[in-house]
């Protein structure tokens, strides 16, 4: 197939990345549950090994092409023309790296805080890692869907078993929301399969053009899955519950990787497969994005729960991401992708930080804190970095992403650009106010005498802090990955008629 660059080294690096953690999980299964230390060390070693294995993706990636790299292809279910087909391009490569990095941090942060069913916990984390990498690497819809759904099982357990007081409600809500969206996408995938001449190969499917009516319905079928995952307004309500109730590692995985998959889905599938429908829906998507940005930010101001506040800030930040993607120009889209990585790093770091202090105080109420800066100065400094990155201060990664998105958004629609910018202002408001209430003011008796973060916790935060400045100061190291792929994607989307389409009229016509 001419769209594919063959795997130059010959080593099936992506398969290794997917199955190393899964093999690790199976190994854990055999270990007696009383040997907790061994279980922890083994999962740490496996996750570090997976990260080291993923480094060649960063160093050996060919940035001059939009074609798929590190590809593998094997027959899987010949009857349905399903292949085990993997590959990466500029859009997906960074997410794999993010997944492997975040998993290490999740193992580190859970070291002391997970006391019951530790074995099952680390098995879930490792299976989760394998499935996440699988989602980003799959070039076959069946394989993609397999990983996409299989991911629900460990995540459901992570939230439901090791989560907070209201964990069962949150876990079930998370599962059902995501499942309803996913099964509609499944129907879409099957319809697409038959329409395109019985193939699940994503690259082959992208090479074809589909009638507008079909595009329209399939866009919404896929939207059901991706919008829930992102989550876009108004299907975001599972997220605050899931983020809040999940254990720290679960929140971090959710925030850093899982919700990125929705936006990734839009980029990888919705836009290239249904370009005309996507373009026609742009006004609606931009509106939903702006609502998410402002609504999420305003809700943040009213939160009294630390994790819930950060969860709602995710809704707002993911609004930026979808705004950038549906701006359908280079700046917006690159900003959107970069902002996904940024949000993964920053919000992941924030959840890690909150988890650290929660382990000490066992309260998430903002009112229970105050004056933490005087008892835990190192922690306060780290949290400041993440707060500023979340606000989007220049020299941090948040600035680059949001700046590009607003630039792109402004080009797409002036109103969207202006309104999104107000989201940043409110964002600065709630984050700084949060920082003030937690770290300054009078020292609350509940935090007096707390130990500052230890070396293990510092180790978990350090890589993220470094990345924040790396991307913030020299974003090209990361933007360089996506230039070609984004340019190619936009060419495909904009190839169709560029005329303005009246969306309301459009929907009415379809429904007739």
């Amino acid at each position: 197939m001419e769209q594919v660059i063959m795997n130059k080294s010959g080593f099936p690096i992506l398969s290794a990345l997917i199955f190393l953690p899964i093999a690790g999980a199976l190994l854990l299964l055999l270990i007696n549950r009383t040997k907790e230390a061994l279980i922890k060390w083994l999962s740490l070693i496996v996750s570090i090994a997976a990260f080291i294995l993923s480094i060649p993706l960063f160093t050996n990636f060919d940035k001059t092409t939009h074609l798929m790299q590190f590809t593998e292809k094997h027959k899987w279910i010949p009857l349905w023309n399903v292949n085990y087909s993997l590959g990466l391009d500029g859009i997906s490569v960074l997410f794999v790296l993010l997944s492997t990095l975040i998993t290490i941090l999740c193992v580190l942060i859970s070291w002391d805080s997970i006391k019951v069913k530790a074995k099952e916990f680390y098995i879930s984390i490792l299976i989760m890692e394998g499935a996440m990498i699988g989602v980003f690497c799959s070039l076959d819809f069946m394989l993609f869907y397999l990983f996409w759904e299989a991911m629900l099982i460990p995540m459901y357990l992570l939230i439901g078993v090791w989560g907070g007081p209201n964990r069962i409600y949150a876990a079930v809500k998370f599962f059902l929301y995501t499942l309803v969206g996913s099964v509609l996408m499944l129907v879409g995938i099957i319809v697409l399969y038959f329409h395109a001449g019985q193939t699940f190969n994503i690259l082959e499917l992208m090479a074809k053009a589909y009638p507008y009516k079909l595009q329209f319905w399939l866009f919404w079928a896929f939207f059901a899955a991706f919008a829930v995952k992102v989550p876009m307004f108004p299907v975001h309500t599972w997220l605050p519950d899931a983020h809040t109730e999940a254990p720290t590692a679960g929140s971090v995985i959710l925030a850093a990787v899982l919700i990125k998959m929705g936006a990734y889905g839009f980029l990888r599938f919705s836009l290239p497969l249904f370009p005309e429908a996507s373009k026609a829906m742009t006004p609606l998507m931009l509106t939903l994005s702006v609502i998410a940005i402002i609504y999420g930010a305003v809700i943040c101001l009213a939160q009294t729960d630390l994790k819930r506040l950060i969860a709602y800030s995710s809704v707002s930040h993911m609004g930026f991401v979808t705004l950038g993607i549906f701006a359908l120009n280079v700046q917006g889209m690159e900003g959107g992708i970069l902002q996904m990585i940024n949000h993964g790093i920053v919000t992941g770091a924030l959840f890690l930080s909150v988890g650290m202090i929660y382990d000490r105080t066992h309260t998430r109420q903002i009112a229970d804190y105050g004056g933490v800066a005087s008892v835990m100065p190192v922690y306060a400094a780290a949290f400041m970095i993440f707060t500023l990155a979340s606000i989007g201060l220049p020299a941090t990664n948040g600035f680059i992403g949001e700046f590009l998105i607003i630039l792109g958004g402004f080009a797409a629609s002036q109103w969207a650009g202006v309104l999104a910018a107000t989201g940043i202002i409110i964002g600065a408001g709630y984050m700084l106010w949060l920082y003030q209430r937690v770290f300054f003011m009078e020292t609350n008796t509940k935090v007096a005498g707390l130990n500052d973060i230890n070396a293990r916790e510092m180790l978990a935060l350090l890589p993220l802090a470094l990345l924040i400045f790396w991307i913030g100061v020299y974003p090209n190291a990361f933007l360089g990955f996506m230039h070609e792929s984004v340019r190619h994607l936009l060419e495909r989307v904009n190839a169709g008629s560029a005329s303005e389409i009246n969306i309301a009229k459009n929907i009415m016509e379809i429904l007739k």
């Binding site: 397999l146 759904e149 078993v161 964990r167």
Partner: protein, 485 residues
């Protein structure tokens, strides 16, 4: 007077062997003290029958009995069902204090009935098979004689089953009156001719051809009863709850698969030319079945009842394959039945291990904290629950996927959308079990009744569920080959 010609017995050899073994089991019961030996004997009979199946192919008794790929596949499902049932029964019937040899004999007879159903090329043979299966199962459902619930189950199952048989006979009578034959192929030809005439005369639309339509409705009603499809599902929850758990497992897979075997045979062979008409009957049945099964299951507190409603719902999904009406549709139903046999039997095997002396273990609340007290059993149950929900990488997903795919291909996308929504709803009650096991603290110590045979059944089903979930090719290809590709 024509001289008697011995019919070709080779196609029917598996059934003959099965009959002999069933009778031997009945007799052996008189002499054997250890009833486990009778159980062992029935597993041997499975081996013998499978051996005979390999050599049986063709049509005999003037087309009344057909041994083809289609029947072969279903027979293997029945035999699998039989084997797993015996494996989970051995210890269980001792715990229930009904350790009698005729238990195994009845299971063999019931399976024999199913095998005859799958091979029936004639409505009379079909009726014979159905009755043999049903009568044996009625007795099995009431096998715990001292338990009123078991008696109630048998009684309800019997009374409603008798109604269904009457429907079936009425349907047979009508179609005989219309076509003058009970042979499925000849009926198919007659119906085809009838439809051809009505098209040329244009005055008689098939829908106004009331005897044909009425007969199809009668068949649909009778078969719906067997597969527990709405509105003929009322017996299932009570019968499933009251019957011995091993028999509940047996009933939830065997008669259902046999029901689908005859639905496929009768509707596609005899009524193949009026597909539009019977689709119009089966589509609402399928939708209502999925709806009633999944929604009623949400509020159950007894796991056997919950699995009863779940099995109603699964019949609804499988009906989609029949409605699709294509060869792929039939193959997908066959594949689904095989997968359903594995996952449902596995779930029931876990349910049975919870039954111990003085502890019923069939309430959902009994599963609280199982992951803490018995992590292995909980992990297995987790696999079966996710498979029943249809989450990859389990077999349940592949089964549903194939059915949905064939339905979409046949143009029933809207029906598949309804099915996937109900499938998502079903996640709630399957996950509830997982939630009880993993997310609640154990209230009382549950003692498991483990035995080597149950462990074997659990191992077979769990491995099958995961292997089919990841590598379905071999099974799907087999189903397709059997469906006549």
């Amino acid at each position: 007077m024509t001289p008697f010609v011995m019919p070709d017995l080779r196609p029917v050899m598996p059934e003959i062997i099965m009959t002999i073994f069933a009778l031997v089991a009945l007799l052996a019961d008189l002499f054997l003290k250890r009833k486990e030996t009778v159980g062992f004997l029935s597993v041997i009979s499975v081996a013998a029958v499978i051996y005979a199946l390999a050599g049986s192919y063709g049509t005999t008794f003037n087309g009344m009995f057909i041994a083809d790929g289609y029947s072969l596949f279903f027979k293997l499902v029945f035999l699998l069902n039989l084997t797993l049932t015996v494996l989970i029964s051995v210890k269980y019937i001792a715990v229930e204090k009904v350790n009698f040899g005729e238990y195994y004999s009845l299971i063999l007879f019931s399976t024999l009935g199913m095998m005859i159903m799958a091979s029936a090329g004639d409505l009379i043979v079909l009726y014979l098979g159905i009755e043999l299966m049903a009568l044996s199962t009625y007795i099995l459902a009431g096998f715990i004689r001292y338990d009123t619930k078991s008696n109630e189950a048998a009684m309800k199952y019997f009374l409603l089953g008798a109604f269904a048989s009457a429907f079936l006979l009425y349907g047979i009578a009508l179609i005989y009156g219309l076509t003058g034959t009970t042979d499925l192929h000849k009926i198919g030809e007659s119906v085809n001719r009838l439809i051809g005439e009505s098209k040329t005369s244009s005055s008689i639309h098939p829908f106004t051809h009331s005897p044909l339509l009425l007969s199809m409705i009668m068949f649909a009603a009778a078969f719906s009863f067997k597969i527990a499809a709405v509105p003929f599902h009322m017996w299932a929850p009570d019968a499933y709850e009251g019957a011995p758990t091993s028999i509940t497992a047996f009933m939830s897979v065997g008669p259902k698969a046999a029901g689908f075997a005859v639905i496929g045979r009768v509707f596609l062979t005899a009524f193949g030319s009026v597909k539009m008409e019977w689709s119009a009957i089966l589509i609402p049945v399928a939708i209502l079945t999925m709806a009633a099964g999944n929604i009623a299951a949400l509020s159950q507190t007894n796991i056997k009842r919950m699995l009863a409603y779940s099995s109603i719902a699964h019949a609804g999904y499988a009906l989609l394959g029949i409605i699709a009406g294509s060869a792929d549709g039939v193959a997908s139903v066959m594949n689904y039945m095989l997968i359903y046999a594995f996952m449902n039997m596995g779930a029931f095997a876990v349910v049975i291990t919870l039954r111990a002396e003085g502890f019923k273990g069939d309430n959902i609340s009994d599963y609280e904290g199982l992951a803490k007290t018995h992590p292995a059993a909980a992990a297995l149950m987790l696999v079966f629950m996710f498979s029943l929900t249809g989450i990859p990488p389990t077999a349940g997903f592949m089964g549903k996927f194939y059915v949905f795919m064939s339905a979409v291909n046949a143009g029933y996308t809207w029906l598949v959308i309804i099915a996937v929504i109900f499938s998502a709803i079903s996640a709630y009650f399957y996950l509830r079990i997982v939630m009880y096991m993993y997310m609640r603290e154990p209230k009382e110590t549950v003692r498991l009744t483990a035995s080597p045979s149950i462990s074997l059944a659990l191992a077979i089903t769990a491995i099958a569920v995961l292997v089919i979930g990841i590598l379905p090719s071999a099974f799907v290809n087999f189903a397709r080959a059997a469906a006549g590709f």
